[in-house]
């Protein structure tokens, strides 16, 4: 019998997968990224429906409990995504700087005292 949490998560899973599909179709998510997130949510659903498998995987990795493994994996993913976001933001900042510089020269507004 399914627990309430599992039913709720199933609903969340469907929403997440729909969102990934929609973003891919609209071209807002690359195919490779879309595939990654589709598999990720499928994997998450599997873990929620069959939580006992995490204990088996945790045993292979030398981690005591399945719940601990989930926390470690989740934290690693959060840090990795933060790192990727950081790089994306820095790249955007540099593009902005280039635009600002081009604009500063382009509009010919170099001010000076009249001779």
């Amino acid at each position: 019998m399914l627990l309430i949490f599992q039913i709720l998560f199933f609903g969340f899973f469907l929403t997440a997968e729909w969102s990934v599909y929609r973003r891919m179709r609209e071209g807002r998510l690359r195919r490779s990224d879309g595939l990654f997130w589709a598999i990720f949510w499928l994997f998450a659903l599997f873990v929620v429906l069959y939580p006992s498998v995490t204990s088996i995987w945790a045993g292979y990795l030398g981690i005591g409990r399945g719940a601990d493994m989930i926390v470690y994996v989740a934290l690693s993913m959060v840090f990795f995504l933060l790192f990727r976001q950081g790089i994306a933001i820095e790249s955007l900042r540099r593009s902005l700087t280039k635009k600002v510089r081009d604009e500063a020269f382009g509009r010919g507004k170099i001010e000076r005292l009249k001779d």
Binding site: E90, R101, R112
Partner: protein
Amino acid sequence: MVGIVIPAYNEEKKVAQVVRSVIAIARPDFVVVVNDASDDNTAEVAVAAGAQVITHEINRGQGAALETGHEYARRLGADFVVDFDADGQFEPADIRPAIDFLQKSTTDILIGTRFGVGGNKIPFFKKYFLLPLARLFNRIFLGVKMSDAHNGFRVYTKRALNEIFIRQDRMAHASEIPVLAHKAGLKLCEYPVRVYYHEYGQRLSGAVKIVGDLLMGKFIK
């Protein structure tokens, strides 16, 4: 042709005096103030003092402002370019001797150092903690050995100016420049300059941010 590049952000109180004294004492061919989207009258004051002013519409940081000034100097074909602070912490009388020193030394870029000249009152924490730590970081992680870790007084030859393109928009440019010089096979020398402290300058939090910017910069093409 000698040009002075002065990045400025909200420096209306000091920039005019700096521009006037630089023009009077160093007699450059041009002084360009890069107004980094100041909220005050920095641009107007600098123009009235005799500088040419390029304005960033959005604040992009000191490194970005310097690179804009360098680009301007490249377009004019400057033979020597001097980076100079807008807050009056450097001594305009050091500019000409530094250029002469660079010419005689057959190196490509000169970086000022607070050490080796009397009268520089470096704050205690900075002198005995921040600067040694920054020197160690530069030496281990960047492969740069210098007596001063972050000095904004620099003189570039035309060759150095055409080889060094600053990519660090904020304060990490001071660590980036010697690294870029080294990568381009340029020779670097140090020259003692006077520094007048109006404010503390870089703090520990700023140093941490610089390290973060340098690390992040490694992952960006």
